[in-house]
């Protein structure tokens, strides 16, 4: 456990991210970015992949006290590679002091992270790139109106999956893809659990190499709920076991929260319009059981491992 963040009152009291961005009210992604930034501090350069967060910096405004580079949808990790390599070259050649160095942070949504950005992220892991990869996972191409992405959960309605069954596929396990390739660090977080998040960012900050943080990002617009429920939905994602909070260190995955007893998944689902077809006009018991079964299987497999 991080010695900096033992209690809620240890969390940073000064907030670095400015207000007034064009992002939606109740954005779970923005909440996570804000909390991450407070721990990382201003000596960062965010290398952004096309997504919702592109709208954080719109000429001539930025909410960041540090730096920013917008790249494209597929190649933010490659942009991070170029920045990191250049900073290292400048230090090695004595054209920059160590104090002027920056933490390089990729900011990406789940659409890019699970799709066209996966190749560039994979390459960055192969090369042992010293960077933080921060994925805000709002489970769809939210910036364009919540089309299905590889991060969309089974059964959800999106603007491209509107049949009674919702999305037929299953959410891609990005955490497993990363950890299979032995990064320096990986963790799942959620803005609604700020202490857990701060501890993990604090830990990641002290490690060198490829470090991945994936934040489930409740999205009022894409998930179809009132913005006031964002934190409640985030907490339910953890309590129901839908979003396991865990970290990967030295080849080992540890769960930082064991929800027990787990709240039934439907408590999480029924707050979101994207799952309304599971309850109206009549309950889709089969699909609800399938989703609950998927969550149960995850935790039972974990119990079996001991």
């Amino acid at each position: 456990m991080s010695e900096h963040f033992e209690r809620m009152k240890d969390l940073p009291s000064t907030h670095l991210l400015g207000a007034g961005t064009a992002l939606c009210a109740g954005c779970g992604g923005l909440q996570a970015v804000k909390e991450v930034y407070d721990v990382l501090g201003p000596n960062t350069v965010f290398v952004n992949a096309a997504g919702c967060m592109t709208l954080m910096s719109v000429y001539p405004f930025t909410p960041f006290r540090g730096s920013w580079l917008y790249t494209a949808m597929a190649s933010a990790p490659a942009g991070a590679q170029g920045v990191r390599d250049a900073l290292d070259v400048l230090k090695a050649k004595g054209r920059m002091t160590a104090e002027e160095d920056l933490e390089v942070v990729v900011l990406t949504g789940d659409g890019s992270a699970n799709g066209m950005g996966l190749s560039a992220a994979s390459g960055a892991i192969d090369r042992g790139l010293d960077f933080i990869y921060l994925c805000y996972d709002n489970e769809g191409y939210a910036n364009t109106g919540q089309q299905s992405s590889a991060g969309t959960p089974h059964g959800a309605h999106t603007s491209t999956d509107q049949t009674p069954a919702g999305l037929p596929g299953w959410k891609k396990d990005l955490f497993a893809i990363w950890t299979a390739n032995k990064p320096a660090y990986a963790a799942t977080v959620i803005g609604g659990e700020p202490l857990d998040l701060a501890r993990k960012i604090d830990k990641a900050k002290a490690i060198e190499g490829p470090r991945m943080i994936i934040a489930l990002a409740p999205c009022p617009v894409g998930w179809d709920y009132d913005p006031e429920h964002s934190v409640e939905i985030a907490k339910l994602a953890v309590k129901t076991g839908v979003w396991p909070l865990k970290e990967y260190v030295d080849g080992k995955v540890t769960h930082t929260r064991m929800p027990h007893p787990r709240t039934p998944v439907e408590e999480y689902l029924k707050l979101q319009g994207r799952f309304a077809h599971l309850f109206e006009p009549e309950r889709n018991e089969a699909l609800l059981a399938e989703i609950q079964g998927h969550v149960d299987a995850y935790w039972e497999a974990l119990d079996a491992e001991g």
Binding site: S57, A74, D85, D126
Partner: protein, 415 residues
């Protein structure tokens, strides 16, 4: 200064070495790979103090190149053909970042069908990207233009990335004698990269490549890039003049060969222009006043120089090693737009497509093209764009098709 036999690829690598580049994001592709292999060897031998990073694609490679330049180091990278197109999104993107670096493209035809041999459809697809373009005809030019390209792109009034283009095989793998300048002389001609305020440092926050909302800021920034590219015309002339003064080799933005008194002028880019030079000499021996005009700088387009050189000419033969499918030659369109409505514009502008996928353009074809152009000038009627292909080539193609038919028949398929 020493003189060595070297390939165009080696000349490109020497250009990067003499420019003292800091960073080389790389990805292999034929016929470019020898460039990055050479640089890797020199880095391993401590002959070049640079960092090379192997990327997983050209899209990432160009992103990393732009990002490193935006952080304040001198960057070199190289690609070809499919690779240039795979990275196309980022060509446009990084040009807008106004972070200068040099990219060597070794021209090669595009799929489909897939081929290794050269033409210019790859580089001309990057025509509108915001990268400046310099087209080389010899290995010496490749080396010299690399140095000019850094000076040009890094100029405070330009600040754009530059592509130095050479033809695959005809230059990439062809050894020619090349004068290697001394490093100290190069350092005088090309001062260290000054990134100005475009850099990332702790305590000096900067936001680069941010989004805009609406056409007003968008147009403003796009026009700035256009004006910077136009400003590169006099900067190129100044750099070429300084290069000539220091190294004794003059690289005009537009090369004119026996053009002054010419009536029929060939208009071409790249290494095949050297074939045209040979044809010009032979046409002159045969009594035709032929000449050659070769734009070295294609972006920015040296319009005024081209107009001046072609004023009063009887006819121009534009030989395009590319096809804009459904239209014809790209250079033909470019030149027509520069000449139309101009006083003293040539009487005929005749378009030929040739040299695709490494196909040769023979001396007799230059003779034929000159004859067609002369006739067009006399009759006042310009023929439609012509696709160069000989009867002999068609017979060879028919033989290949005959084999394919036999194989189909043996497999029991209907061809």
């Amino acid at each position: 200064m020493t003189r060595q036999l070297m390939t165009g690829n080696a000349a490109a690598a020497w250009g990067a070495r003499l420019a003292d580049v800091d960073y080389v994001p790389a990805f292999p592709i034929t016929p470019q790979t020898e460039i990055i292999e050479t640089l890797s060897r020199w880095i391993g031998e401590d002959a070049l103090d640079a960092r090379m990073t192997m990327m997983e694609s050209e899209h990432s490679m160009i992103t990393a190149a732009g990002a490193a330049a935006a952080t304040g180091v001198r960057v070199f990278t190289a690609t070809s053909s499919q690779g240039l197109l795979y990275g196309m999104e980022m060509l446009y993107t990084v040009a807008g970042w106004r972070a200068p670096f040099v990219l060597v493209n070794v021209s090669r035809g595009l799929a489909a069908p897939i081929t290794l041999e050269p033409d210019h459809n790859d580089i001309l697809a990057a025509r509108d990207s915001g990268f400046l373009q310099i087209h080389c005809a010899t290995c010496q030019e490749v080396l010299d233009q690399m140095l000019i390209a850094y000076r040009l792109g890094e100029d405070a009034g330009v600040r754009l990335p530059v592509i130095v283009n050479l033809d695959g095989f005809y230059l990439s793998f062809t050894r020619e004698p090349v004068d290697l300048p001394d490093k100290s002389a190069v350092a005088d001609f090309l001062p260290p990269f000054d990134p100005g305020p475009t850099r990332f440092r702790a305590g000096k926050p900067v936001s680069q490549a941010v989004a805009v909302l609406g056409g007003v800021p968008y147009s403003y920034f796009r026009y700035e890039v256009e004006l910077a590219a136009r400003a590169a015309l006099p900067v190129y002339d100044e750099a070429a003049e300084a290069f000539a003064a220091r190294f004794g080799r003059r690289h005009e933005a537009v090369e004119a060969y026996r053009c002054d008194d010419a009536e029929i002028v060939f208009f071409m880019i790249g290494s095949f222009a050297t074939k045209a030079k040979e044809a010009v000499d032979r046409l002159r021996d045969a009594g035709t006043a032929a000449g050659l005009l070769r734009p070295v700088l294609l972006r920015p387009f040296p319009e005024a120089k081209l107009r001046g050189a072609l004023r009063g000419k009887k006819a121009v033969v534009v030989v395009d090693q590319n096809i804009s499918i459904g239209k014809g030659g790209v250079l033909h369109c470019e030149l027509a737009s520069a000449l139309y409505g101009q006083r003293g514009a040539p009487g005929a502008l005749v378009s030929f497509i040739g040299g695709l996928g490494g196909r040769d353009i023979a001396a007799e074809e230059f003779f034929e093209m000159a004859a067609v152009a002369a006739k067009a000038a006399e009759s006042g009627e310009t023929p439609p764009p012509r696709l160069l292909y000989t009867g002999h080539e068609l017979r060879e193609m028919r033989k290949l098709q005959a084999i394919a038919h036999v194989e189909h028949a043996e497999a029991g398929e209907t061809p």
